[in-house]
């Protein structure tokens, strides 16, 4: 009867996450905690980015340490046109798609000739090139970045200046991305990507030109992340090369691993837990200090707790949070 209701623990949790995301603006309105609208907008944007990275890491076995470059390029595809007073969101979107697509095609074509650690290093190198390119572009603020005065305009039916409209737009794009990745990984294309991760040599001897499939996967992933970047630019209203720093790429990888690699919903949970820990841990320390228990905890302690928590989840929950949710008791 209730065949479309989730039955597994992970299914219930993931449905719950979607419901929470859908209702967050209502909660914010009722409670007045405007802050959380921002937090969850950011979570969803990074979830889309992590989702695209999961396509590479989780499904394709391609560990890229340069994915934040696409976030940055996407953001500058809003920032630079707005600097020239071009506000049309469709132009921004087209630019982001073309720029990230071309960048992914060129860098992917070279990076995918390598494997393992070399692939990690070369994707990092390309991302650093982009980083320093934007640092050197004085016209667009260089190191200091660029303020985006007005958000993308997609037509009179959608006003992104309204934070709630922006929130729901991002929410919609996140749902679309989830659906898209779901179809992609289960289709013939996804099978080839997955098969090449498990045993590339065998896939080649079966007749698959694995390099081509991986390259297309890389381009799709880059474009998806670029679209996340477009929303990041709109959301923060201030962009700088810092957002494509390699540590940002590392954070994206962490989100993917935290949620569970190769799991459709993993990156959403990963991004959520990552950002919420980042927000809550300092608050908790402040709270404990406020209790007046004598010795005060150094505020920076939260970084340590944050790191240890992440490592613990990765180490003990093999398969990340998804692994914890689906773990079967060993007899």
């Amino acid at each position: 009867m209730n065949s479309c209701l989730p039955r597994t623990l992970s299914g219930i949790v993931y449905t719950g996450v979607i419901v929470v995301l859908a209702l967050m603006p209502v909660f914010v309105q009722l409670s007045g905690q405007i802050f959380y609208l921002d937090i969850f907008s950011r979570i969803m944007i990074l979830a889309i980015a992590a989702l695209s990275l999961n396509l590479l890491i989780g499904y394709g076995g391609m560990i890229s340490l340069g994915h934040a470059a696409f976030l940055g390029i996407g953001a500058y595809c809003v920032g630079i046109p707005v600097y020239y007073e071009i506000y049309n969101g469709w132009i921004h979107l087209a630019l982001a798609i073309v720029a990230c697509g071309v960048f992914a095609l060129v860098t992917g074509a070279i990076s995918l000739r390598t494997k393992g650690v070399y692939f990690i290093m070369i994707t990092l190198a390309f991302a650093q090139m982009v980083y320093f390119t934007f640092v050197s572009l004085e016209e667009y603020g260089g190191d200091d970045g660029l303020v985006i005065e007005l958000r993308s305009e997609f037509g009179s039916w959608l006003d992104l200046e309204d934070n709630i409209a922006l929130y729901y737009t991002i929410f919609g794009v996140l749902l679309l991305s989830l659906f898209f990745v779901h179809r992609l990984v289960h289709a013939r294309f996804g099978r080839v990507i997955l098969g090449s991760k498990f045993n590339e040599r065998r896939m080649q001897s079966l007749g698959f030109e694995t390099y081509r499939y991986r390259l297309v996967c890389y381009v799709i992933s880059g474009i998806m992340c670029g679209i996340a970047g477009l929303f990041l630019g709109n959301f923060t209203s201030f962009i700088s090369p810092e957002m494509m720093d390699w540590t940002r790429s590392g954070e994206l990888i962490f989100m993917v691993i935290l949620g569970g690699t190769g799991v459709l919903f993993g990156p959403v949970v990963g991004a959520g837990v990552f950002i919420l820990l980042e927000v809550w841990l300092p608050q908790i320390i402040t709270f404990i200090n406020g209790l007046g228990l004598g010795a005060k905890l150094p505020h920076e302690l939260w970084h340590l707790i944050f790191g240890v928590t992440l490592i613990a989840v990765v180490l003990f929950g093999r398969g990340g949070i998804h692994g914890l949710l689906t773990r079967k008791k060993r007899p």
Binding site: R183, L184, H186, A187, R188, F189, G190, R191, V192, L194, G195, F198, N199, R201, R202, M203, Q204, S205, L206, G207, F208, E209, T210, Y213, V216
Partner: protein, 244 residues
Amino acid sequence: MLDILNLEKQFGGIKAVDNVNLHVKEHEIHAIIGPNGAGKTTLISQVAGELMPDAGQIRFMGRDITFMRPAQRARKGLARSFQITSVMLPMTLLENVSMAVQSRKGHSFRFWHAAANDRELIDEAVMALDAVGLSNRANRVAKEVSHGEHRQLEIAMAIAMEPRLLLLDEPMAGMGQEESMELVAVLNEIKKHKTILLIEHDMDAVFSLADQISVLVYGKIIATGGKDEIRANPEVQQAYLGES
């Protein structure tokens, strides 16, 4: 159908394949026997395209394929099985064989329809599993099945490609007596409409299956001929049959 001409492959000081000439005709099973380290796998890997020869030429269906990529050769109708099982371990047997079917159904830049419900893939994959006697294990994960079943899966994947020429590298390696006999029966069935280059240690299997036999010793073919010719050849008896 397959012509190997003056093929050479050297690893450091060892000539693993030394001026090999070999011709496989359509609809025959051509077996290669030879002691451990004779260069059999090296030879097959060059035919499949995973190893580049140092010299010589490989012609398939009248075309020079010496410099083609493995995937290209596979699409031209060359399928190989591996001596050491090489499959997609986390996938089910059905998924593994479906990949082989998918490979010959044109390109896989198909992004939307679920492959798991694709009758075009499943039906033929099930047929291949059936042919090797694995259809009741179709939904088991490859990692979890037995060694013998891995060997059968190797064959199922190779035949699911519907190749013109099958390259089988010791398909019975590590199999029990009974399993080997079953596989011989399977190969006898396949033999009716396929060409096979078979590497095998199991002499009973070779003599019951092969039309032609070549003996490879230290990278050199020392004899080629029918079963009786090979049995009678004194050089072969001394170099190989006598020992085993």
